[in-house]
Symmetry: D2
Subunit: 232 residues, 4 copies
Amino acid sequence: MTDSNDYAGSIELLDCMGSDLDVANAARVSFGVEHSELTDRDIKLIKYLWEHKHSTPFEHCVLKFRIEAPMFIAKQHMRHRTWSYNEISRRYTSENITMYSPSKFRQQASSNRQASTSNLVDPVIDIVAGERSSLEITATDCLKKNAEDSVKLYEALLAKGICREQARGILPQNTFTKYIATANLLNVLKFLALRDKPEAQYEMQLLAKAMSTIVKEKFPVVFSAFNKVEEV
Amino acid sequence: MTDSNDYAGSIELLDCMGSDLDVANAARVSFGVEHSELTDRDIKLIKYLWEHKHSTPFEHCVLKFRIEAPMFIAKQHMRHRTWSYNEISRRYTSENITMYSPSKFRQQASSNRQASTSNLVDPVIDIVAGERSSLEITATDCLKKNAEDSVKLYEALLAKGICREQARGILPQNTFTKYIATANLLNVLKFLALRDKPEAQYEMQLLAKAMSTIVKEKFPVVFSAFNKVEEV
Amino acid sequence: MTDSNDYAGSIELLDCMGSDLDVANAARVSFGVEHSELTDRDIKLIKYLWEHKHSTPFEHCVLKFRIEAPMFIAKQHMRHRTWSYNEISRRYTSENITMYSPSKFRQQASSNRQASTSNLVDPVIDIVAGERSSLEITATDCLKKNAEDSVKLYEALLAKGICREQARGILPQNTFTKYIATANLLNVLKFLALRDKPEAQYEMQLLAKAMSTIVKEKFPVVFSAFNKVEEV
Amino acid sequence: MTDSNDYAGSIELLDCMGSDLDVANAARVSFGVEHSELTDRDIKLIKYLWEHKHSTPFEHCVLKFRIEAPMFIAKQHMRHRTWSYNEISRRYTSENITMYSPSKFRQQASSNRQASTSNLVDPVIDIVAGERSSLEITATDCLKKNAEDSVKLYEALLAKGICREQARGILPQNTFTKYIATANLLNVLKFLALRDKPEAQYEMQLLAKAMSTIVKEKFPVVFSAFNKVEEV
């Protein structure tokens, strides 16, 4: 896996509505019953609900996150259409551009076209430098140079009065973006069921694992029921 | 309008996430800015957002209600597909059956096929009673009799072992139902824009007006911006 | 189960967009590849997609149905919030009121509070008739009488000028309703996965099974993949 | 505006379900009425529906598009969460990388932080070339060079065995992406109401205008009703 020191983003819980008890009580609306404290029967009920895909009682709890991630990860996140998002707009602001810079790279898997292996490499790359010379630098240095060059070019375009919405086109997908993301507990768990999995891109797994930790803390019974079925 | 003493249901706020300030801050994510207190500029921003249909910043606040309403009203509510619902199930429980019993009736509008007038009446109805006789009673008494007869028949069917899910078929749509309903602020406002309007059925307007009062209390700036545009 | 001659509604395919091949091609967009005919690899791909919950390729095919069902079934259907619906409105029209009239009844299950058994009964019910006498009739006759009495009362209220939107409140949930319902293939299958199941109310199963037959005919490969996993 | 010869992507209608008549008939389900041909009253009805935000009858028609667009445009499109998407994945394939290369640039608007002016420029940019020299080239040439350098670097990383999902991080947002996008007519129109507007980024307007032309051809009466209200 990528060096654990690589900064691939961050996630923070901004707000949260509801608790394990609220999930049980939402289910008990069917019977016209409500509990004021979480009982052992409620815990069993929550497990039963998740196992049998009775999903509506999980929709009355809500989590709101602040997230920073590379654009290619934010893009994957925003394919989850049941969430609500507000993101920094590079039509509005050109400030604080930072880039994802891994210090090691995973190798392409040969068996699975979509995947990468856990083999970490940082090969030497031959790049063209200027008109006539070439330059041998490591892949990590290549990315850093690419990041720096892109920002310089971006700022040069802005300095000449070119509009932000066009200038941003040259920023690479490694550019970090910031957004808030809100979803009900059901849709948070559906996100985790897909993204806190070995099939997900490693950088996405990092985000999903950090989100899992938050969900587990706020909804321990629900998370345990979820985890047993989905094996996240 | 219907006698204000008629009980047509109830609504209660169970939980709420967010505030006017959170709406403004969600919008300011685009610029990478956050305020810790609601300023005059935030108030202007919120008005601007609603007027110009920039709707996403309203999605990070959430309201959760407990509602009691006649089935025909709950059904209209549940056509709003962005909300989350859990409702009492007459497959599970046969207890606490109560009925909507208006004490006056609105007359059918002739110009608008969907509407009723504000003319309140309680005409005498000729109904068949038993095999040979007929009975002249007021419409309100008719409804009460219909409600009582339906519940008696329902209970007679259950007493003979007939399953609840079939027996409920004879319960009229005036039967009250109970449910919890959760939506983000945007979708609560979209509900109000349609249902807190003269075109809505009067009983629905009662629910919507009670909901408006709650929204106005929790999100005064947002509600004022909404109200100015939608003229609720 | 209920006598198969009982009319519990109908479903008809009004329109359909897409085919098995379109599902495979939607998935192959990821690779930048398209097939013009369904190959064995496409069939394997479709099975793989359903088994591994890669659900988006199933969203580009759409089915549009015309449905007639008792109100308690239509209500269950309309809890599926990803579908689109337009329904006959009893605020607009008071014509063609018909009722679901089963000729046999299922007994309440004792072990599962929500369920009914396959035991069919038609017990004799003692109902109050008029002011002083009682009447012993079968449950099926009870329902017929309840249906007739409700319609008579409904029409009597309308005849006195009471608005349709209030008069409908006395119509029982056995009243048939008509609606069109449109969803993409993924959401049709999600409906079937929940409703073409023994846990669903029998009358709902009838609707779901009829829908399954239609889906199977239009999307045989997809339906086979779905059926293998969901055991509908 | 940008030179009309600039290739900013393409849109093609792949499939379509429904017609103007189907919208009118979906609305007439409320009354229990259906027409077999579009009448003048249907045309009036459709206008009434859109003007009064009776939106459900527009949900039973569906359009499926194949789109090619720069990543920053596809990203804006995919914020519309009611649509269905399948997109080429740069985790799967590294083939056919092409870039958006405008031949002229719009200037940043000073009054509106989000907007650009219609002033077209192609200023000379001073960029660092190699280690010691600098290079004066036009902005358009800058973008071309940035595109070429990015692809070369991308391919160099892949040649050394680095996984596609990490290598893609250096590709700029000007990279073209391909996807299919399906939505019902209501949500297509909601997209156009926001994106076929002067406030939208010019490149997005190009996509929206091309989509408008398609919608107008398939649903002329609906589009006319929409256009009158939304002034697209």
